[in-house]
């Protein structure tokens, strides 16, 4: 799958400028980088929530994109109804709710869930359907450790079974290590370095990458 090069400029300031990318189905790509490095902007443009500076598609025609924003939105209806918005298979919804420990909250109004519960609902909602490209923007940032693990398993399985391209934005290098195949490092709006996780984490080629990884004590 090819993603064409594009950029994003706000009032003359370019916050994102990325080259063409070639991604492989069935693989999980983890996007890392500091705050404001353009990760969410990249995700939004691919999800067609935000227009890029250049007109024209960033993706080939016919590619379906699933996306969970950094700020989750829970609709004013029950948790289960929210999840069923993703797809109508009720049995599947119940399976997902069980895996993500949402079963006891099925009938609660979703807009009153706690932070981590909302993230889990959003993940279950997306996993109801198959997409060719899935983008998750810090999906586990509000979750506790147990459900983070459960979610990671779910995400991994989803990518591997459905053979989609999965982009996972995260601030947790542990998480990237656990489930990503490749890592893309964003810095100041640019894709500085990318590659298989072992290579990038333990043998980064650029000083900026090395400096960023240092904070994690790697």
């Amino acid at each position: 799958m090819k993603i064409s090069a594009f950029s994003k400029t706000y009032h003359g300031v370019t916050v994102l400028d990325v080259p063409e990318l070639e991604l492989h189905p069935g693989k999980i790509y983890s996007i890392i980088g500091s705050n404001g490095s353009g990760k969410s902007t990249y995700a939004k443009i691919l999800a067609k929530v935000l227009p890029a500076d250049q007109k024209g598609p960033q993706l080939d025609a016919g590619i379906t994109v699933g996306y969970i924003p950094q700020k989750n939105y829970a609709f004013r209806m029950s948790t289960k109804a929210n999840i069923l918005l993703g797809g109508s298979d009720s049995a599947k919804a119940e399976r997902l709710m069980e895996v993500l420990q949402l079963d006891s909250l099925a009938s609660q109004r979703a807009d009153r869930l706690s932070g981590g519960e909302t993230s889990r609902m959003a993940l279950a909602r997306l996993m109801m359907k198959h997409f060719d490209l899935v983008i998750l923007d810090e999906p586990t940032a509000a979750m506790d450790v147990e459900t983070t693990f459960l979610s990671e398993n779910l995400i991994w399985e989803y990518a591997k079974k459905s053979g989609c391209v999965l982009l996972l934005i995260t601030h947790s290098l542990q998480q990237a290590k656990r489930i990503a195949d490749e890592i893309l490092f964003f810095h100041k709006g640019q894709l500085f370095e990318s590659g298989p996780k072992e290579r990038l984490l333990f043998a980064p080629t650029r000083p900026e990458t090395r400096q960023f990884l240092e904070f994690y004590g790697i």
Binding site: T64, V65, Y67, P69, F75, K129
Partner: protein
């Protein structure tokens, strides 16, 4: 004031036949027109608030101008269109309740659209980010948006109804305020006022406000229920 109050009570107690007819026509007209305006204005307003396209600004400004359409002018236009010599004379609508409803729909719909547009443009971005991320259709997105602004829709309905029941300029023009047929509360109040019978005018006004109060209480309770 006191005598007006007594007159109001008396009118209701004696079940004055003409008053009953006026009340019935008023209810039919204002409920129908406010509901039609809602049915047209809410979807269109939500759509306007949620979409971005060239020329949207123009539509918004035009809609806001139509919000300020004076009822008399609206009534006059319909009068001319539907007159015996007007281009739409075959409709035979002049001096019927139906054309009063039509004129009111024209007056109220822009208000509904404007209100919904403003509200929805505030909440749409977050919702659209989510629905696009789930690959939902536009229709589904609009339905979800409607569900998210249910409290606002109730308010807009009350505003519409308020406008419908209190309006007199357009209604008297196209309806003709014909007794037993198109005379509504406001035109009756006008009539009594013109005759110098102010206390009867105030008495009818009190009855009208009481009806408004009852309708609003019912809708507010329903609104609370639905938005828990």
């Amino acid at each position: 004031m006191q005598s007006a109050f007594e007159k109001a009570i008396h009118l209701i107690m004696t079940g004055d036949a003409e008053l009953c007819n006026i009340l019935f026509v008023t209810a039919r007209m204002s409920l129908t027109s406010s509901i039609i305006a809602l049915l047209i204005g809410v979807p269109f307003g939500i759509w306007l608030g949620a979409c971005h396209f060239r020329g949207k600004g123009l539509i918004l400004i035009m809609n806001r101008t139509l919000m300020g359409m004076p009822p008399v002018v609206c009534g006059l236009l319909f009068y001319i269109l539907f007159s015996g010599v007007g281009p739409l004379r075959r409709g035979k609508l002049l001096f019927t309740v139906n054309i009063m409803i039509l004129a009111q729909v024209v007056l109220i719909t822009p208000i509904v659209i404007g209100n919904m547009e403003t509200y929805v443009s505030g909440i749409a971005p977050a919702i659209q980010e989510t629905t696009r991320g789930l690959g939902l259709t536009r229709i589904k997105t609009l339905l979800l948006l409607a569900n998210e602004c249910i409290y606002q829709i109730f308010f807009v309905y009350m505003l519409s109804f308020a406008r419908a029941i209190s309006e007199v300029g357009a209604v008297s023009m196209v309806g003709g305020a014909i007794a037993w047929k198109t005379n509504v509360m406001t035109t009756a109040i006008m009539q009594y006022t013109n005759r110098g019978n102010f206390s009867l005018g105030i008495a009818l006004g009190m009855i009208l406000l009481t009806i408004s109060l009852l309708v609003n209480t019912a809708i507010t309770l329903l609104q609370r229920r639905l938005s828990k």
